[in-house]
């Protein structure tokens, strides 16, 4: 059951993560604020309510796994990990700088708590499938969560993995599609023939749900339902807004990859106060 307390905690975590994200990208002078902000609520829900993880022992064998397959959204992941105690928040400003543990895209060997290297699109579902299968070999009962972008699922390997995950009855694999409707080159609808999204996953045999990806209760409830699905992998198509939380970034795809100026940063932080 999802409580009001749960929602308040996740909402506060998400707000803090968003503040971190825009600050980090401003300082780094490079990054993808729009895509990072669209997944912030889902990532906050996972790290602050769902994932069984131990920040003191990031490689604990029984932990739940999380893969941010759309790795360019990683400032959100880094902020969540730092706020959750995997490493100091003092590290966050070093994003993308030489020698930092926070690479431009996630590096599982450099950053405590990052379960998989990612950033080259399309691979997270396959890697997550491997982790799910490994749980059986290792007799563990963890869940593996993956976030893919809607542009990202144009990659063929996603559907290779979608097929194999059903074949292997990967019930403990839960994939979120961050469906913000935008990709680097413009609206997804204009770039590809991807639509309709949800029926594709259904046709592959996945347990499917469609939710508002910024409705925290909906996110938490969808995860509970997905966890209950024992024999099929689950897909949650989360309708999101790129740049969510910062009015001047919402629905402006130039923020796919763009650095806020000091003035824009101040405005963004004010919006997230």
């Amino acid at each position: 059951m999802v409580t009001e307390q749960d929602i308040r905690e996740v909402a506060e975590a998400a707000r803090q993560i968003r503040r971190d994200v825009v600050s980090m990208i401003h300082l780094a002078g490079d990054g993808h604020p729009g895509p990072a902000l669209s997944v912030a609520d889902i990532v906050a829900a996972l790290y602050f309510k769902i994932l069984r993880v131990n920040p003191a022992e990031p490689l604990w064998e029984g932990r739940d796994r999380f893969i941010l397959s759309k790795g360019h959204a990683c400032p959100t992941l880094y902020a969540a990990l730092a706020r959750r105690g995997f490493f100091s928040t003092d590290v966050l400003p070093s994003l993308r700088s030489l020698g930092s543990i926070l690479q431009g895209h996630p590096d599982m060997q450099k950053t405590p708590g990052v379960d998989s290297t990612s950033g080259s699109l399309g691979n997270g579902v396959s890697i997550g499938l491997g982790m799910t299968l490994a749980a059986r070999v290792n007799r563990q009962d963890y869940f593996t969560y993956v976030i893919v972008g809607d542009g990202e699922i144009q990659e063929g390997i996603v559907w290779e993995a979608a097929m194999a995950a059903v074949h292997y009855r990967a019930g403990r694999l839960i994939v979120f599609v961050d469906h913000n409707g935008q990709q680097s080159g413009g609206p997804v609808r204009e770039v590809s023939g991807l639509y309709p999204v949800l029926p594709k996953w259904e046709a592959f045999g996945w347990h499917c749900q469609e939710i508002d990806g910024h409705d925290l209760r909906a996110i938490l409830t969808a995860i509970e339902r997905a966890q209950a699905e024992a024999d099929r992998p689950s897909c949650v198509v989360a309708r999101t807004v790129k740049g969510k939380g910062i009015p001047f970034m919402e629905a402006d795809n130039s923020w796919h990859k763009r650095v806020p100026t000091k003035d824009e940063l101040d405005k963004a932080l004010a919006a997230l106060a």
Binding site: L129, G130, L133, A135, R136, V137, N138, I157
Partner: protein, 324 residues
């Protein structure tokens, strides 16, 4: 060829994998509808059903799934045709296995024109070694025959990190008989009759190199044949020692001349200022379908080609010595 003893490199791999999976339940294998390629029987699949995964004809998914398995402290073998690993799934090999340094062992079958033979260019892979050799941290091994596949598979299972093992068609001659000890990362001196020349070779072509050396001996040229089965880590010290004694060198490989053995030896020669080289291999061309032995002959990898290459390089070295 009829007198040649044959032993399948594919079966040798699968038998060794069977031993490894028996001994260690944390050793797993991922196929991409390549179960039959490796002669895996229904009994094998049933017995190891918890350790064998077949993701269907989907090589990128095969490699990325193996990466996921390997992040969970498993040793993951990945086995299918050489080019489907190194080309179709090249980026997954590089970014999701090699970059994090995961314990995934790639087994590439049908390598070279000898391994790909009748199916033709789509299933003959003669760029695989150049590709994996350019990816940081991947151990690269080219065994000559089934016995060496067994030894190399065990050696790779005992080392941590990504590796690529190149094997053949399943119709593979025994090259080193009786088998000799294999040491990962070290050259093997197989024949040593003098310092007139050295032939560096690997894979089945080691056999033809040995035949060429014997023929050269009958012509009064006495040299040695050195097997370079491990392209990474390359035994630079060993190669330099050999070149110091025998500067007239020929490389013989079932691969494009660029990027693999010939290039590796050329790099050593250039950086150490020692030796003179002729490279035999595919001379920047695509091959075609045909009989395996006939293909090698057709594409400049016959015993006679090796003999002539040695004669050429010996003459060059002598000429250089004369001008000093």
């Amino acid at each position: 060829m009829s007198g040649m003893r044959m032993e399948s490199t594919r079966v040798a791999f699968l038998e060794t994998l069977t031993e490894l999976m028996e001994a260690d339940p944390k050793t797993v294998v991922v196929f991409a509808d390549s179960v039959k390629v490796f002669r895996a029987t229904p009994e094998f699949l049933q017995r190891f059903r918890g350790q064998v995964f077949d993701v269907g004809i989907a090589e990128q998914n095969m490699v990325a799934t193996a990466a996921g398995l390997a992040t969970c402290n498993l040793t993951a073998f990945v086995a299918t045709y050489a080019g489907f690993i190194t080309m179709r799934a090249c980026e997954q090999v590089r970014t999701f296995v090699a970059y994090p340094g995961l314990n995934v062992k790639f087994i590439g079958a049908n390598a070279g024109i000898f391994g790909g033979e009748r199916e033709g260019v789509t299933h003959q892979f003669f760029e695989d070694l150049a590709i994996v050799r350019s990816i940081p941290g991947v151990t690269v091994v080219v065994p000559a025959d089934a016995s060496e596949v067994r030894q190399a598979t065990r050696a790779l299972a005992n080392t941590v990190g990504p590796a690529y093992l190149r094997i053949g068609s399943g119709r593979d001659p025994v090259v080193v008989d009786p088998p000799r000890a294999f040491e990962l990362g070290k050259i093997r001196r197989l024949e040593d009759h003098g310092r007139d020349f050295v032939i560096f070779a690997n894979g089945y072509l080691l056999q033809r190199s040995l035949e060429a050396a014997a023929q050269l001996r009958s012509q009064g040229l006495y040299g040695r044949v050195v097997e370079v089965h491990t392209l990474r880590p390359l035994d630079v010290t060993g190669i330099v020692q050999v070149l110091a004694e025998s500067p007239a060198a020929v490389t013989v490989e079932d691969h494009q001349i660029n990027g693999a053995l010939g290039s590796a030896v050329a790099e050593v020669i250039a950086e150490h200022g020692i030796g003179r080289l002729v490279r035999l291999g595919l001379q920047d061309v695509f091959a075609e379908s045909g009989d395996a032995f006939g293909l090698l002959d057709r594409y400049g990898l016959g015993v006679r080609d090796i003999v002539q290459a040695v004669e050429r390089v010996v003459t060059k070295v002598a000429a250089t010595a004369g001008t000093r």
